[in-house]
């Protein structure tokens, strides 16, 4: 019953989304306020109905209702409750339902929070948002319906893919989708602006917080996914340039560019056309990511099932939306007037520089990901484009960009003084140089690149704080005056500094973990002692343990540091009988920001010997901590009063909006 209600709610959501995709737009074109107002209730209605459908699916999972095909295929009655819950989106159908749920959520948020928007713009935005919703609801209902029943119902489910039975599944997909799908708002605003043929600073003031929020979620989602892969796959790596990773990385790169170009548009009314194009491209890349992951063109751990009809359907959505929006852009971009003159050396110029490199990096990842497919079609040659290619092309593109980061906030709008900015960065550059010299002195000439990497990270981290330092009036002002000025700085200034500092942390983590990682692969017998990262690791022996829906072999290692006990590590090998699938669970010991990482290999049945792989990864956690700090910077910036459109006017507008909601 609950399942049928969910199914029905989903069909009803499609109906309402169809209404939403036509009437508000029609109202906006004809100036009919009643039709425009339909958008608000329709957006809320669509969201609530999708939420109802999603709740129905989750309920079926939590109660292990194996009469539902989707639940049977991806769940097991013995799973811990949390995994029963998360199994709901640990499969293709459920994950697409989560996708549209978040799409609906963003539509509803615009409807609820957008009372200061011009009514016609708001109506158009809601209609465009509904187009996307309709397409994906159709996709789910026709090719990926999670509510299909199974007769007769089986007694036991087939279990969730063991790799996905992890807390990561509770966090990674929702965060990632909040980011991915959050860019749909920027897209809807861009298309609405093109339909209206008008775009102004108010438009950018609206788009920027939404883009920023989506970017924060995507940043955290990617970082979470990276850390999950790091500890779950047991390969010790944190980024594989896997096509599916690239699929989430491209919208992030383009979204980062969009974030910065929207800044120029908001402050200086320049780069309008480019910002619109970037908004379209960013969401297009999100859609393409969905296609690459969901279609099965690229098989990977994320492609839960491969089915040609789905691929063709998503491809059709892709062609219609990307093609349509770009065609609209080509037709209407000329009517938008460009504005805002600036000299090449200026804050605007720095942001354009940022956009040039980020877009080139996006293009590099895009071409690298699709090139093997294209080449095979064109000339039948099969080639691979893997991590070494991306390391060689992507990294050099990032270096000039990273060097430029601290300069940006130090340059004035319109016409900046590069020399003055450079002088303000003397201290940071001096420290960076010292770091390079120290690393070279300690490690010798063979480490030139890593030494440069450390210097770059130091420059980035210190340089990001330089702007705050000088804006507080230091070093000239007295400490009390400087403190008052410092706490009085706008939050967006803090947001910028924090996010750029986080970027520096990530760079430091990447450089340290790749340059100074040590690895040890060996066979151990009980009583053997290994040494890594200053630890003595004593192998105590193996034992067996039963989990709720798996059994595992546990290796016990005792850690000590300089003779002092420092805890135990228990990497395991698990077997999940339902799927006949073995996994490894690595064991990680964190010391400050570095980690000791143990993963098991084959064991020798007689004698209790086992192969173990031991990594010492210095400062590796900074890679993800840096991303969290970046996300935090974004949130601080989001809290800036200036970004809340018409903050004082909002209280006045709140009441009529609520009656609209009730209507």
């Amino acid at each position: 019953m609950i399942v049928e209600t969910g199914h029905y709610a989903l069909i009803l959501a499609l109906g309402i989304a169809l209404v939403q995709s036509v009437l508000p737009l029609w109202g906006a074109r004809t100036g009919d306020t009643r039709l425009m107002a339909v958008g608000i209730s329709a957006a809320l209605g669509t969201f609530l109905l999708i939420a109802l459908a999603f709740g129905g699916l989750v309920a079926a999972y939590v109660t292990s209702d194996f009469s539902v095909l989707n639940v049977f295929e991806n769940s097991h009655s013995q799973q811990p409750l949390i995994y029963k819950f998360t199994s709901a989106w640990g499969n293709h159908e459920g994950s697409m339902l989560l996708w549209v749920l978040i799409l609906g959520l963003f539509g509803a948020l615009v409807a609820l929070l957008g009372h200061d928007l011009p009514p016609s713009l708001k109506a158009t935005v809601l209609s465009v948002q509904a187009w996307v919703t309709v397409a994906f609801l159709l996709f789910i209902l026709t090719t990926s319906n999670p509510f299909i029943r199974l007769m007769p119902p089986p007694i036991e489910g087939q279990d969730l893919n063991p790799i996905l039975q992890d807390l990561g599944l509770a966090i990674h997909p929702p965060l990632l989708y909040l980011g991915y799908v959050g860019f749909s708002i920027a897209f809807s605003f861009a298309v609405a602006a093109l339909i209206d043929g008008r775009v102004d600073a108010a438009w950018a003031r609206w788009v920027r917080p939404w883009t920023l929020a989506a970017w924060v979620f995507l940043t955290l989602g990617i970082a979470m996914g990276s850390y999950w892969a790091y500890y779950e796959l047991g390969w010790g790596g944190w980024w594989y340039w896997d096509p599916v990773e690239n699929a989430s990385f491209m919208p992030w790169l383009a979204g980062t560019a969009l974030l910065h170009s929207a800044l120029v548009m908001e402050k200086r009314a320049a780069l309008k056309i480019w910002t619109i194009l970037l908004a379209i491209l960013t969401f297009s890349l999100s859609l393409m990511g969905t296609f690459l992951v969901r279609s099965g063109v690229l098989t990977s751990v994320h492609a839960f099932a491969t089915d040609p009809t789905r691929g063709v359907f998503v491809l059709a959505i892709l062609v219609v939306f990307i093609g349509g929006s770009l065609a609209l852009f080509a037709a209407r971009a000329g009517t938008l007037e460009a504005g805002g003159l600036f000299a090449p050396i200026s804050r605007e110029g720095a942001l354009v520089f940022n956009n040039l490199f980020l877009t080139t990096a996006t293009a590099t990842v895009l071409v690298g990901t699709l090139y093997p497919l294209l080449l095979e079609v064109l000339n039948g040659a099969k080639i691979s484009v893997g991590a070494p290619f991306f390391d060689l092309t992507f990294a050099p593109l990032m270096v000039p960009l990273l060097i430029a980061v601290p300069f940006g906030p130090l340059l004035a709008w319109k016409r900046g003084d590069l020399w003055a900015a450079t002088q303000r960065l003397y201290v940071s550059a001096g420290v960076a140089l010292a770091v390079i010299i120290v690393v070279l002195a300690l490690e010798g000439g063979a480490r030139v690149l890593s030494a440069f990497g450390f210097g770059l990270a130091a420059f980035l981290m210190l340089g990001s704080l330089t702007d705050l330092f000088f804006r507080a009036g230091l070093p000239r002002a007295g400490p009390s005056v400087a403190w008052l000025r410092f706490i009085g700085l706008p939050r967006s200034a803090f947001g910028t500094a924090i996010a750029h500092f986080g970027l520096g942390m990530t760079v430091l983590g990447i450089v340290a973990a790749s340059a100074f990682q040590t690895e040890l692969v060996t066979t151990v017998k009980p009583g053997d002692v290994l040494r890594s990262g200053g630890y003595e690791i004593r192998f105590e022996g193996m034992s067996k343990r039963e989990g709720p829906n798996y059994s595992e072999e546990v290796a016990h290692f005792a850690l000590s540091r300089g003779g002092v006990a420092a805890g135990t590590l228990e990497p395991t090998k698990r077997a999940y009988p339902a799927r006949q699938m073995p996994t490894t669970e690595s064991a990680i010991h964190t010391r400050l920001m570095s980690q000791l990482y143990l993963a098991l290999g084959d064991s020798d049945s007689n004698g209790g010997a086992v192969v173990v792989r031991v990594w010492w990864k210095p400062l590796v956690t900074l890679i993800w901590l840096g991303a969290v700090v970046m996300g935090f910077g974004g949130m601080v910036s989001l809290a800036d009063r200036r970004l809340r459109v018409g903050a004082p006017a909002r209280r006045k507008a709140a009441k009529p909006a609520r009656t609209e909601v009730g209507a």
Binding site: W235, V297, V312, L315, L326, L341, V377, G386, R613
Partner: protein, 166 residues
């Protein structure tokens, strides 16, 4: 625009051209390099590891033979080490594997005619984008003030002279 359409048409074809096998790469209990495969000579072993990182495990998805646990990956790792023991240079080893398994085995494609677009693309995009921006910046720059005419110069000289006198 046209490029995008072409691209998506091509991906459609690619879709049909590709075998849609279900080849999920499950993380496996054992892992990559096993102690018994390793070479006694650390320098040679280090070279073997480095070569392995650039070779694709042909039956896996996007994994190097150094990361993979598949039987084929193990065979290739052993093969790489055998060739190194036989005195091959790094490039010889790669050539040998390409002759047996094709270019597909290299994770870093070689620079050839068919990969020129791949390798050249970042540079080309950067240069074209840069030129486009530079031309835009030139257009945006306000026109430089034109030089003063002889009459105007004379008038200024007059004014300055008057000012000195007063």
């Amino acid at each position: 625009m046209r490029r995008f359409i072409a691209l998506f048409l091509l991906t459609t074809f690619a879709w049909f051209a590709l075998p849609n096998a279900k080849v999920g790469f499950g993380p496996s209990p054992a892992m990559a390099v096993q102690p018994d495969e390793m070479l006694a000579d650390p320098a040679l072993e280090a070279r073997a590891r480095q070569i392995s990182e650039g070779l694709r495990c042909l039956v896996c998805q996007n994994q190097s033979i150094d990361d993979s646990n598949a039987d084929l990956a193990k065979d290739l790792r052993v093969l790489v080490r055998q060739r190194l023991m036989a005195g091959d240079s790094d490039e010889d080893v790669r050539d040998y594997l390409v002759s047996r398994y094709g270019e597909f085995v290299l994770l870093k494609p070689r620079l050839e005619w068919k990969t020129v677009a791949l390798w050249g693309m970042p540079v080309v995009v950067l240069i074209i984008g840069g030129l486009f921006l530079a031309s835009g910046a030139r257009r945006r720059r306000p026109a430089a003030p034109t030089a003063l005419t002889a009459d105007e110069e004379a008038a200024i000289a007059d004014l300055l002279a008057q000012r000195k006198e007063s």
